[in-house]
Amino acid sequence: MSLRTGRPGQAHAVLGLLGGAALVFFALPLVALVGRVTPAGLWAQLGAPAVQQALRLSLEVSLISLGLCVVFGFPLAFVLARVAFPGRALARGLVSLPMVLPPVVGGIALLAAFGRRGLLGGWLEQVGVVLPFTTAGAVLAVTFVAMPFLVTTLEAALASVDPRLEMAAATLGASRWRVLWTVTLPAVRPSLTAGLALCWARGLGEFGATITFAGNLEGRTQTMPLAVYDALQTDPEAAITLGLVLLAVSLTLLTALRGHIGRRR
């Protein structure tokens, strides 16, 4: 309000000051982290087999998970945005829950469902599927935590697509799939990209659900965040370097993909 009435100069100064303080609050720890790393140390760490293994596993786990998020998350977002069904509000809440739930609670919940003594545990064991302590389990944990970021972003975009565009395409004889592919998808593409970036970045950073549900073993379930935590116990410098690598990857992802959206609007 005070932006339009009163003295805009003062309001801007206050907003600028507080906003600037917030930016410093975010930037300072990250800059401090960078300050603790030497280029030589960074290079040595990147060459270490354990680090490369963790990086490779992180990419593998997060990309497989991203694929699952798209295959299941897009339909879920579509249903939530377009289909009115009883309990939709509850379903929306459920989908958003992993975003605010402590990931370790997510991990415990996954154990309760897919663990050996879990709801589906006995049945899974019978058909030979083992999730805890396996890479598949790590993928499941990452998917559980990351998918909501894609779904909620996409859902908002799908709900705001002008239905007249889709109707027009349909009256011109396009099948439902064709409408989806040629009208709906292009309309939500910026949000899809942003959602994918958020989802992937969150997946790369997943720690709590993974270590709780899938455990911590090099090459199998020890993704980058777990490797950082492991390194912190013996070699804090290595942990900082690893953390910086993770930070750089995530920042690149978020800036490249989300920044891209910002320019479009």
């Binding site: 663990g115 050996r116 003594r117 911590n216 073993l217 090099e218 199998r220 492991d230 912190l232 116990q233």
Partner: protein
């Protein structure tokens, strides 16, 4: 808005003020000491009015790392010598004193009834959980397996390296892992019914060491806490929880 900010600042200040009331002794202690130290806390506080002992329980390697990074700590109790030496090497920690010993045991999940001893730990497909190789109990467990001659086969079955001993207990008592190696004192009454305990006949003797931080702001109180651990009442409390005398 400014009033809101002031209010927030006020809350923050009053929270700080509450924390500052009385004397606070900060004890960083190995996870396995949890019940025993919490058990002897009331007696110590009764004898030192106005003192509140605040514990920070974690794997000793995490606590040593925190001390290296400058964490405010008055007393450090570690579950092995290497982590105590690491803390001492940081220059912040005074001389270490032994105050207890422990024993290793093999624990198995209720489902894994077929495991009768260490020899079974190498069976294909068995899920063994150990503490990580930098965690004291992880070091002891690997030494034990080495000594018994089953290290290679057993270590190939490790599915997770936990950050502290209670992580191992949790995975086995939940039935997710088949077996693990922990301290005898970790089979607390809370979990005793949820797993089976088998003896480990090895010559590995876990030792606990305690030291006062040189930059402690309550050095005398910290010394008193160490004396308590080494004294009759502290030793009795430790014995009650299954620890052996130093």
């Amino acid at each position: 808005m400014f009033r809101g900010l002031l209010l927030l600042a006020g809350f923050a200040l009053s929270a700080c003020a509450r924390e500052g009331a009385g004397q606070e002794l900060r004890v960083s202690a190995a996870m396995s000491l949890k019940e025993a130290l919490v058990g002897l806390e009331p007696e110590f506080e009764a004898r030192h009015p106005g003192v509140d002992v605040v514990f920070n329980f974690a794997g000793s390697q995490i606590l040593a790392g925190q001390i290296e990074e400058g964490a405010p700590v008055d007393v450090f109790a570690a579950a092995d010598e290497p982590q105590m030496q690491r803390a001492i090497a940081s220059g912040r920690v005074g001389p270490a004193r032994r105050f207890a010993r422990n024993r290793l045991v093999l624990i198995t999940s209720l489902e894994a009834a077929g495991i009768l001893g260490v020899a079974d730990l190498g069976r294909p497909g068995l899920r063994l959980v150990l503490a990580g190789p930098s965690v004291p109990v992880g070091v002891y467990a690997r030494a034990a397996l080495q000594q018994l001659g089953f290290a290679d086969a057993a270590l190939a079955n490790v599915v997770s390296n936990e950050e502290n001993v209670r992580g191992v207990v949790g995975k086995v008592s939940a039935g997710e892992a088949d077996a693990g190696i922990v301290y005898a004192t970790d089979v607390t009454p809370a979990v005793a019914g949820k797993l089976r305990t088998l003896p480990l006949a090895v010559d590995v003797s876990p030792v606990y060491e305690v030291a006062v931080l040189k930059d402690s702001s309550h050095a005398a109180l910290a010394e008193a806490f160490v004396a308590e651990l080494q004294g009759a009442s502290g030793q009795a409390a430790l014995a009650k929880y299954g620890f052996l005398p130093p």
